[in-house]
Structures are given as C-alpha cells and as structure tokens.
Subunit: 81 residues, 6 copies
C-alpha cells in the first residue's frame, strides 16, 4: 500500500484552477486506490457509484473538500499568470 | 474524461456573489459529469435526486463547500465593484 | 433554472449575525429550489425532511457550512456597529 | 418561522470556549426549530436521534462545524480576557 | 444537560498535537454525552458504532473536524516547544 | 485507549505533500483504532469498507479533512525545502 503515489508530482501547486481541479479528482481517487488496491474490485465499485445518485453526490463532496485545500495552496490563482 | 472542462473560464474569480454561486453549482455538476459521462444516465439520476429529500440536502452541502472556496477566492466580494 | 436568484441582494454582507444566519438558511433553500423548481414537489419533500430526524440534522449541517462562509465574509461581525 | 431567534444575543463572541461550545449547540438546535416549528414533533424526533448511534454522530458533526465558526470569531480565545 | 463540561480545562490550547488530538476526541464524546445523558444507553450505542464500518468512519470525520479547529487555535504547534 | 499514539512523531509538520498525505491516512486510521481497539474486529470491518463503494467515498472524505489541516500546518509546502 505504501508504494502508491498519493500526490502526483508531490506538489499541491498547479498552473491553473482547471489543473487544480484535476489534481483534486486524482488525489481523491488515489485514496480509494490505497484503501482498495485490487484494480478489478475498484472497477466494479466504480460502476456502482457512477450509477447511483447519492454516491455521485458523495464523490462531489470529496472532490470539493480536496479542491478547497488545493485552491488555498495556490492562493486561489489570484495573481496574473 | 480528460476532455471535460471542470472550471468554466478556468478561473474562480467572479464579478458578484450571485455569479460565484452559479459557478459553485456548475463546478459541482461538472464533477458528476466527469464521473458519469453518459448524458442519459445522468438525466435519469437527476430525476432521482431532484425528487428525494435527503439527496437534495446532499446537493446543498456540496454546493455550500464549493461556494466557500469561491467566496474566499473573491475575498467575499467585500471591496466595492 | 438560471432565472432563480441564488443570493438575495447579491451580497454576503449583513448587518448582524442574526441576519447572516437568515441568509444562510435562504441560500441553502435557493439551491434546493434551483435543483427542484417545482413548488409542489418541494412542498411535499419539505414535509418529508421536517419530520425525519436524520434529514433535520442534514439541514443543520448545510446551514452550518453556508453560515461559516457568511460569517467569514463579515469578519464575524467583530467590529462595533 | 421568521420570529425564531437564530443566534442568542445576536453575537458569535463568547467569554470562554465552554460558552462558545454551548452557543454552537444552541445554534444547531435553533436551525432544527426553524425547520420544524412544532415542539411536540421535535420532542418525538429528539427521542429518535438521541437513541440512534449514527444520528448522534451526525449531531456531533453539525456542532463541530458550528463551533469552528464560533472559535474563529473569538480568535480561539487565545488572548487573555 | 447544562451541567456537563463541554471543553475540559475550558481551553483549546494544548502543549502538543497529540494532546490536541485527545482533546478533539473528548470534545466529540462530550457532545454525544450532552445529547444522550443516559450512561447505559451511551454504552449500548457505543457497542453499535464500534462494530459498524460506516459509523467508525463517521466518528473519524467528526474528530477530524474538531481537530481542525483545535489545530488552528494552536497555530498548528509550529513554534518550537 | 489512552495508550494508542494518535499522531506519529507528535507533529503535523512533514517534509513533502506526499508525506503529509500519508500522515492524514495514518491519523484517520488511528482514530478508528482508538474507537475499536480489537485488531480482529478492525480487520473484519476493513474488509467491509474496502468493498463498499459508499464507504470508500467516506474514507476519502475523512482523509480529505485531515489533509486540509496538515496542509495548512505546513503552509501548503509552498516554500522550498
């Protein structure tokens, strides 16, 4: 389990909000991967939550929390780029 | 999945709180779209959560979390515009 | 759906904590209204969650999150008024 | 519904952490009171969630969120008073 | 219910992160104690959530929220001790 | 229960975001260990939540909240080290 990379590039800093959002999705998925390392089981479970309204909303909440941290890390990408 | 735009205009900055709130709703929906790319399935699931009290409350929680990030990014729209 | 006002007066700034709390409740309700525009269905669902202990707790969590943003926007109403 | 006071004393400022915690509990309860104004129904629902492990945990989450706002408002009661 | 102490030592300040974490657990438990003052019922409910995977996760979320407030109060114990 | 270490190394400070993420996972697990000290029961429950889509999402939310605190403690690892 320790060998899974949890944060790609080992940084919360991204060039744009869009990339920050992608990082939030990836970080959320990597926690699931760490908790359930079996790829086939994850694939089966993914089919479950992608077709369940309440679970899709739970995905949204998790990504929202991860993104709030990433956005703060990037000072909300306020400065011109 | 990578081709879906996650943050319209690639920015958290909006002119007004109202627009910030609209952005929060859009960002929450785009995570669902990324997780479930099939438009027909999403339409079916939308009918589920729009008619379920607990799921409507979950929608509200997700938007509230997204909005807290957007509001901070805009320094709460405190300065005159 | 776009025609529903999401934030009354288009501002997070309120004169008092009490008004901030009222705004939090309104903002939470307006997300539900946007997600379920049919007034009759909303009325039916309201009867559901107002009589269900777990859903009342979920209402409380959503309002708490909205209020945390509004309170920060108003610098917690610390300065004398 | 508009006649229920949502924040006692209309302030988030308290003398001590203990009083801040009591305020968090009261604020959480007043949202439930606003959503379900019938005292008898609330009493019945209270018996439900006080005897249900998952609902007690949900009460705890709501109070924790309310308290985080109150604690920030009071600058965590760091300075002597 | 008013006689239960909600925050031991009436302070969010602790000497170490470890003690801050212990305080988060205690504060979360004291809200449950306030909501359900009957020790025997609490003991029964504890057996429920200590043996239920989803409830254990809910315990973890509540403690995480309480700890975020305590950590901020202590400025994350950054300064040397 | 008091003998379980809740925060390894008694510090929220880590060298990298990756290590911060690992700490978030460990801290979340140690709360579960404190709440359910029996290793065999924990092992059984782990098999439950690692194979349940909704519970995996709940794991993700808890780690996200713990990580937000750790990231803030480390000033988001912005400065070079």
């Amino acid at each position: 389990m320790e060998t899974i990379t949890l944060i790609p590039a080992n940084s919360l800093i991204t060039a744009t909000p869009e990339e920050g959002r992608q990082l939030a999705i990836k970080m959320a998925r990597l926690i699931i991967k760490t908790t359930q390392p079996d790829a086939q089981i994850r694939e089966n479970l993914r089919a479950v939550y992608a077709n369940d309204a309440m679970m899709l909303l739970a995905v949204g909440q998790t990504v929202a929390i991860e993104f709030s941290t990433i956005a703060a890390a990037n000072d909300y990408w306020r400065v011109s780029r």
